[in-house]
Symmetry: C2
Subunit: 331 residues, 2 copies
């Protein structure tokens, strides 16, 4: 198991704030159209899907990356940025860096989906591969940071990133008000390291935020149950949810989640595949496994629904052959 | 070949108008969120995809059906409606009828995709099947109309339907203004009988409207070339674009298209499949073959693009196994 040495220790990070989320939302609104809110019925109740898989890079990660990079000063921009990601944050950082003329280097696992590696490179980023089982990605990133004086843009343990991801909640609130007749009472969201869920909690202070993780990659569920940060078990099982394979959340995220999350869910690989098929057939959306985790919890009855429950569909970057097998697979 | 006996002769239909399109757009805006406009780059130019496949029934057809049915008086509503469709108009009519408490009967070809037959029935409509090769669907519909006094809601040859489909152009214009910096200069759209393209022409008087048909199902292309309505050839080839298999356009549509269309395109089955793969991989959208025809023309270089070209993605109802094969197929 890789360890999160070094970067995890307190680094004097400022706490993310709701004001920061609102500022991020303003910046994003000037740049990108809101992603659509798509209703569907399940067990006789209307549920509202926020289709973040329709962002330009196919994932909500563009939000945090844009908020972070656009706040950098000229000197920091000139030194470049370093990201660590299995692929969606990678593309978010690469996209924002390209738009702003900043050099980006992304540390990615060698077993990331080919489509994510290809697209990150296509956006002009320099990709450094590591072996997920044997190497410590954070150590590699830290070495690059030290060598170049570059800015690390962590995938979830960063106040700008948390605020940026939270901008999806500001959009959601306006859309729910217009179409669902009031704000979301509950937001069900896929959870890796807790960047999105922490951002949503800041964005929507009156909503329950319900994180969903794949079985075995349940560090946030374990941490919420223990009341302190816990890592995933010693030999986590394989999962199709590459985007959610984080060994542990960070204090900056957990401080928010511990205060705000009252329930959470773990979903099986079969439940995730069923959710991908549902999104294909009923919503006409391409959703990757990790992006379908929250929908999987809703469909499996592991997350309660009322008429104002929102479910985040967070990403849609999936290899074609794999996706073809899943949708044609049936139940 | 079936013939369009009877209904084709002049029936005193009023002409659709831009005022009607604007009224339809107001009615739709109160009911459904705008479908997203999603930019993508092709040959160095940004093109704007209007994702009508994300409508509740998975196709733009919900627009015309809603405009038509919601304008019916109490007496007409009590007598019910009859639709004729391979599946998307069927679902649009069934959806609007269910919302308004109107009985709907849909005449559908027995070779329609199973998913379209199933979903039309699931919306509560009564489905009457016919054999596409041997029976005349319009004759079947006319008999039902005569027998019940029901209102025929034609899939394209109806002023309300044309105006309703045109409401997508009103949404598009507002979105282009906001995100593309000005109105669409060109709208590339899949074309069956010409309901959508005629509606777009009314909605966007300053845009070029470019209809796209599958090779061999090119009655509108032939008609535009001839200057008068022409049918498809005597033995049109098989096509995956079931939604675009119309033998001939109607005078009410052609009167508008003849005035407004300066160019048009025919696309091959391979070009359509490539467009479905592009929509899957780059836009994360599930698009059915007929819904991808305009995108196919853009990708194949058969429709010119500038920075303000819009392309309509009109439907996303496709059988899972078929879609899996197409996306996994590669080029």
């Amino acid at each position: 198991m890789p360890r999160d040495r070094g970067m995890k220790e307190g680094t004097g990070l400022r706490a993310p704030t709701r004001e920061g989320v609102l500022r991020a939302a303003d910046k994003i609104a000037a740049l990108l159209p809101p992603t659509p809110l798509i209703p569907f019925d399940i067990r006789g109740v209307t549920v509202w899907a926020k289709a973040e898989c329709l962002q330009p890079v196919g994932a909500f990660k563009i939000r945090g990356a844009w908020h972070r990079l656009s706040d950098l000063g000229d000197e920091a921009r000139a030194r470049g940025v370093i990201g660590v990601s299995s692929g969606n944050h990678a593309q978010g950082v690469a996209w924002a860096a390209r738009e702003l003329g900043i050099a980006a280097t992304i540390v990615m696992p060698s077993d990331a989906p080919a489509v994510k590696l290809d697209r990150t490179r296509a956006l002009g980023a320099d990709v450094v591969l590591y072996d997920r089982a044997r190497e410590d990605r954070d150590a590699i990133a830290l070495a690059l940071v030290a060598e170049r004086g570059a800015t690390l843009v962590h995938a979830y343990g960063d106040p700008w990133v948390i605020e940026g991801q939270g901008s999806s909640g500001i959009e959601l609130a306006a859309q729910m008000e217009r179409w669902a007749g009031g704000p979301a009472t509950r937001i069900v969201a896929p959870c890796g390291g807790g960047g999105l869920t922490a951002g949503l909690a800041l964005a929507c202070p009156d909503a329950e935020v319900l994180p969903v993780e794949p079985e075995g990659w349940d560090d946030v569920c374990r941490s919420l149950e223990a009341g302190s940060i816990e890592r995933v078990g010693p030999e986590p099982p394989p999962t199709a949810c590459d985007a959610l394979q984080t060994p542990a959340t960070w204090p900056i995220n957990f401080a928010i989640l511990r205060e705000r999350c009252r329930s959470w869910a773990r979903v099986s690989e079969a439940e995730v595949a069923a959710a991908q098929r549902f999104a294909f057939a009923r919503l006409r959306l391409v959703v990757e496994p990790g992006g379908a985790a929250a929908l999987a919890a809703v469909l499996a009855g592991k997350a309660p629904v009322d008429g104002r429950t929102a479910v985040m569909l967070t990403g849609g970057n999936v290899d074609a052959a794999r996706f073809g097998d899943v949708v044609a697979g049936g139940d």
